[in-house]
Symmetry: C2
Subunit: 313 residues, 2 copies
């Protein structure tokens, strides 16, 4: 039997926002309940080419499939006119080990599951009447987090804060083309929105806790390594609810860990993002809430399986 | 650009024994010289399905590519009429991270590089006038080790020892169809051949040291986990030359390690298989020599790259 390969166009056709949001919601809930398996990843460095390769596997224990994801980042590629990231996802039967398909997704599924997780958690934790959103950062996730959140609730206006005004304007134009009212803003102004999303590779906080108003929800998705840091420790000290997608991971290399080590919050102060999604928590109108999302490998499995099941039921 | 996938037929056409033997020889020499990178593998277990999944990466530092190999073994599959093993190899540029191709090899390349390593090392270490060969085991490697060795030197006769006479006869028939004179033999008789190869999953030695004659070379390729053991510790005590494909690995989970822990040989008594291949060692006609091969991930990279270069120079 010939190995089945799904090209980017087929994946894009199959992966509607509804499908991805459903798969990610289920996977975050399963992860919170301990119904996922995520082994330690495999990693290689290519210092001469400013490159690295990560291989991550993930499984929902009640799913018929698991996934192995190969992702490379070679950061000198753009100078050669090539994309920095490449990758694919193998969907493998957990019953027979047979490779059901290779998804030639070029990193799309990772981008989508990251956007879906941020949008779902932000929607669940924000005030019901929150309508303004702000995004820190000007990359792919800055765009996706806002558009996927807009799938879940109306957004009356978007503030975009980036270090480059040109890039901030480009994000605003991209959002405007999708029917969203967006404009560049200073960090302090952006931090004053009802819903704040940070999507940067920053190593020091991108906003001041004092600029965040009461009643605001803040989701950070950019901190995925110990040296990165987007959200100030003081913000966690103010937060009435703190959600983490994976407690150990967020403690080890998320903004939550920085805050715990700074002493502004306790190590046991967080609740699992999947718990928040399963039972949207009651929140006071003046409460500050924070989510720290570091990325969970089991989401890859959920999204890739869902795409494949859509094409091949 | 569409993801390139090589099917088993294309791989089989490209991978001549000469190509695989050359690639494996170069890779073992590079490994001995420290010119390889083999990160710790990724591993998942599926106890409900008697299954496991290993992901191994490997790189020759002077090669333009590296590989990520996904291999599953689901040992209940044969009861369902399915093969136990599945897998594929991704060949990835070490300069740009781009996936050059996916080799849908179903484990063939691993089998071939294992056979090539055994044949090359046996040929280099055996007496120049050694002509009789014996193989312990009746699986795919029992067949391949002998036929690949026959690519490198004439073999006058083959003795096959397995626990099942029926399976031993099947191996003999298979070898006879390839022009080799083969017959089943007892363990003691087989251990008396000039060149002895063990290819079993045994957990206790398959031959007695006393049955091995002076002047014999013995290569073990079946011991790849700490609880496995094919060659008796006493044989290492008699050996004038001991070769290992990877010193640390063989010490940790090879027959060499069992012998060191039994005190029959010293921890520094081995020489790298790549050194043996680079400079075929002088050996007395009455010397016993032993090779312990546990499998080196960089060989996958070498063979997969060579196959792809042959098809796509």
């Amino acid at each position: 039997m010939k190995l089945r390969v799904l090209d980017p166009e087929a994946i894009e056709r199959a992966a509607s926002p509804g499908l991805v949001l459903d798969a990610v919601r289920d996977a975050l809930i399963a992860h919170a309940a301990g119904r996922t398996v995520v082994p330690p990843p495999l990693h290689m460095d290519f210092p001469d080419a400013e490159g690295d390769c990560h291989v991550k596997a993930g499984r929902l224990t009640d799913s018929a499939d698991f996934t192995v994801k190969v992702a490379t980042g070679f950061y000198g590629n753009p100078r050669l006119g090539l994309p920095a990231n490449h990758g694919l996802v193998c969907v493998i039967s957990a019953r027979t080990g047979r490779i059901r398909a290779v998804l030639d997704d070029r990193g799309m599924l990772t981008a989508w599951r990251t956007a879906a997780a941020g949008a779902l958690v932000t929607h669940a934790m924000a005030r019901r009447d929150a309508t303004t959103a702000a995004v820190f950062g000007t990359g792919e996730q800055a765009r996706l987090q806002i558009t996927w959140l807009a799938e879940l609730r109306p957004i009356s206006g978007v503030l975009v804060h980036g270090r480059s005004m040109e890039r901030s304007r480009a994000v605003c134009d991209w959002l405007a083309a999708r029917g969203l009212d967006a404009r560049p803003a200073s960090a302090d102004e952006a931090a004053g929105a009802d819903m704040v999303l940070t999507t940067t590779p920053a190593t020091t906080p991108v906003l001041k806790s004092a600029a965040v108003r009461e009643g605001t929800h803040v989701t950070g998705i950019g901190t995925d390594m110990p040296h990165k840091n987007e959200l100030p420790a003081a913000l966690f000290g103010r937060a009435r609810i703190i959600a983490t997608d994976d407690h150990d991971q967020c403690l080890d290399h998320g903004d939550f860990g920085h805050a715990v080590r700074a002493g502004t919050t306790a190590e046991d102060s967080d609740v699992a993002a999947g718990v928040v999604l399963a039972a949207r928590p009651a929140r006071a109108d003046d409460a500050v809430t924070v989510a720290d999302l570091t990325g969970v490998g089991a989401l890859d499995a959920a999204v890739a399986s869902a795409v494949l099941d859509r094409l091949d039921p």
